[in-house]
């Protein structure tokens, strides 16, 4: 009983979300006019409460629920990031300012948002193969439903179908890999697996570990949309309602990186050594380097020719996953810090870009870049903010995006000359990306538009949120020391047993 009580205390963020989820489902059954407002408030309150509970867990480290999950600073960082992403999405995107969601039932949306957040948190702290797989599938299944949210819309439906078939196949492959891992090590708990692998293994088993790693990576690659498991990504991001796209491009991806980090560092690292040291079983860096380089390149090159902004941002988000992966490749504390910083930056810049796209779609009903000329005159605030978001995505100082790139590139270069080619690939990619981001800016600002279109009428709340997100891309540079302290403090993985 005592253990359950202790687990519950360290599980308060998740409990708050669960409570809010159940309440939203109940309220949705009511037939009242205040229902929608109540559900929105409940959702926001649940998320905010969850965030508040997270603060109480600072510095706590340990196993909960008999080793099914762990609480540790890195997990906490991801929890804050994930809850923050959901909170921002719930605040910024409303059923009023999105043409796609307008008129759809609201209860399920909030319930699903809370459910995805909850599963993301479970994923960030999973410490057992069963829990890991369950959490991953929970995130996936709830995301499938969110993508199909626009009833009667062909694109939404088609996107969801592709998503679910691709997702089910890749998680199926991952499950097979996990089952083989259980067969090799005889346990499903990550610390147990590390203990076993740390004791050394035979050559035959090492070969099997390659196979396991490949199969398991199918699942993680699917979640983080890394090449070659990225095929679903553009279709899904284009077909889903834009708020959902914005959410999916940030939260599950971050959760994917959380679980990737935990699986590789907590499950496969050498016990006793530095927490960021992997077993010498497989040449991990080379595998990850290749994936990272391919992901960046494929994403950026494909984005070059896109005119649909949702699709363009989808490809660019694939590329960004490649940059984040650079942090993982470095396999060092600095690399992990780079990953953390990059994900933080990515959250504010990507959500901002998607918000602008949504607002433009709300007024003009288009996602096509060819309809964007002349926007500067019609909506100066949106254009300026978009410029900030895009410059941030490019990695231009002093935006946060620059800090993210700086940290990951530094971490890679610091690893030695054999890694420098990767940094070069990354730099080249940044140049390609700069081209298509700049093209959007040019279209919006310089190209002459059709003067007949009316000026933008934006709600005050929407203007405020755009401005807040733009400032969030600019300001952090001024109190960077605080952020760096936080990132450094988050670099502890619970690795005991």
């Amino acid at each position: 009983m005592n253990e359950i009580q202790q687990s519950l205390q360290r599980f308060l963020p998740e409990l708050a979300l669960t409570g809010a989820l159940l309440l939203v489902v109940l309220v949705d059954c009511a037939q009242a006019a205040w229902k929608n407002a109540a559900m929105r408030v409940l959702t926001l309150a649940g998320l905010a409460g969850s965030l508040a509970f997270c603060l109480g867990l600072r510095g706590v480290s340990g196993e909960i629920w008999s080793g099914m999950m762990v609480v540790d600073p890195l997990g906490l960082f991801f929890k804050v990031l994930l809850i923050g992403a959901s909170l921002l999405v719930a605040l910024v995107f409303t059923f009023r300012n999105s043409r796609e969601l307008h008129g759809q039932g609201q209860g399920e949306f909030y319930a699903l948002l809370l459910a995805v957040t909850l599963s993301n948190l479970l994923m960030a702290g999973a410490n057992d193969l069963a829990m890991l797989y369950l959490a991953l599938e929970m995130v996936s299944i709830t995301s499938y439903v969110m993508v199909a949210y626009m009833k009667g819309d062909r694109m939404s439906n088609e996107a969801s179908l592709k998503y679910i078939l691709f997702g089910a196949a890749s998680t199926g492959a991952m499950l097979y890999g996990l089952s083989l891992l259980y067969g090799i090590t005889g346990t499903t708990s990550l610390p147990g697996i590390r203990e076993f692998l740390g004791a050394g293994m035979t050559d035959a088993t090492r070969t099997t570990m390659y196979l396991v790693a490949m199969l398991v990576f199918a699942g993680f690659g699917f979640k983080t949309a890394a090449v070659p498991f990225h095929f679903w990504c553009p279709d899904v991001y284009q077909g889903a309602p834009t708020p959902v796209t914005a959410f999916l491009s940030v939260a599950p991806k971050a959760a994917g990186f959380a679980i990737l980090t935990r699986f590789f560092f907590s499950g496969l690292a050498t016990p006793g050594a530095d927490a960021w040291d992997l077993t010498g079983s497989i040449d991990w860096p080379w595998v990850l380097m290749l994936v990272s380089a391919l992901t960046m390149t494929v994403g950026n090159v494909a984005a070059l020719t896109q005119t649909n902004l949702k699709r363009l941002l989808a490809y660019s988000s694939i590329a960004h996953a490649g940059y984040v992966m650079l942090g993982v490749v470095a396999l060092s504390a600095n690399g992990a810090r780079g990953m953390i910083v990059y994900l933080l930056a990515y959250l504010v810049m990507n959500l901002g870009a998607f918000l602008v796209v949504t607002l433009i779609h709300h007024q003009d009903g288009t996602f096509d870049l060819r309809d964007y000329p002349g926007l500067y005159r019609r909506a100066p605030l949106l254009t300026v903010s978009m410029a900030i978001f895009l410059l941030s995505l490019m990695g231009i100082p002093p935006m946060v995006g620059f800090m993210g790139k700086l940290y990951v590139f530094a971490a890679v270069i610091e690893r030695g000359p054999s890694y420098w080619w990767l940094a070069t690939v990354g730099a080249l990619n940044a140049a390609i990306a700069a081209y298509y981001y700049a093209r959007i800016l040019k279209t919006m600002i310089i190209d002459a538009g059709n003067e007949e279109k009316p000026a933008f009428r934006l709600a005050t709340a929407d203007q405020a949120w755009v401005a807040v997100l733009a400032i969030a891309n600019l300001l952090p540079i001024f109190f960077w020391a605080r952020i760096e302290d936080w990132a450094r403090a988050s670099l502890t993985l619970y690795a005991g047993r």
């Binding site: 359950i4 687990s7 669960t18 989820l21 489902v25 629920w65 008999s66 080793g67 099914m68 999950m69 008129g103 039932g105 399920e108 319930a111 699903l112 459910a115 909850l118 599963s119 479970l122 057992d128 069963a130 829990m131 369950l134 959490a135 599938e137 929970m138 299944i141 709830t142 499938y144 439903v145 199909a148 009833k151 009667g152 969801s160 083989l180 067969g183 090799i184 090590t185 005889g186 346990t187 076993f196 293994m201 035979t202 035959a204 088993t205 070969t207 099997t208 196979l211």
Partner: protein, 166 residues
């Protein structure tokens, strides 16, 4: 050849044979009904492995739930009473080559790897222990799974329900 081996080979033949029908049959409905035998065969293998609880779960959920759902899916996505439920096949040859290669790799893995060894005894009668584990060590995944089922139920209902005329 002892009795256990005989039972195993029969079950394995049923499982793999019907799985092949699932994948190769031209008619969708044959695939679906062949899946029944795969599921039952796998349930039999579970029994042989001493996992009686899991075998019953397999029957209940796979046969009574998933298969019935799939059959509904097959029938609702075609003209009813249409006998010719064709399921077209694309890229057959490359697919076969890939799967044969995959099978070879997995078979080799199964043969060569040094799997974690125990004393070779089956876990004791499982139902009670599984129940206790669900309420003990696996409490969190157990509860999380219930949330998952709730959300999936809600989501599936939301997706198929026609848009409100409001």
């Amino acid at each position: 050849m002892n009795a256990e081996a005989a039972v195993f080979y029969v079950l394995a033949a049923i499982t793999v044979g019907s799985a092949a029908v699932v994948v190769l049959a031209r008619s969708l409905i044959y695939s679906a009904f062949a899946l029944l035998f795969t599921f039952v065969g796998v349930a039999g293998l579970y029994l042989l492995l001493g996992a009686d609880f899991l075998a019953a779960t397999q029957l209940l959920i796979y046969v009574g739930g998933i298969l019935v759902l799939l059959l509904f899916g097959v029938m609702l996505t075609h003209k009813l009473y249409d006998l010719d439920l064709r399921s077209e096949v694309t890229q057959f040859l490359p697919g076969v080559i890939v799967s044969i290669g995959l099978f070879a790799v997995l078979a080799l893995t199964a043969w060569r790897t040094d799997w974690a060894g125990g004393d070779g005894r089956a876990p004791a009668a499982t139902t009670r222990e599984i129940g206790q584990l669900f309420m003990g060590r696996y409490l969190l995944p157990f509860e999380a799974a219930s949330i998952l089922l709730l959300v999936a139920l809600m989501g599936a209902a939301m997706i198929v329900r026609r848009k409100r005329s409001a």
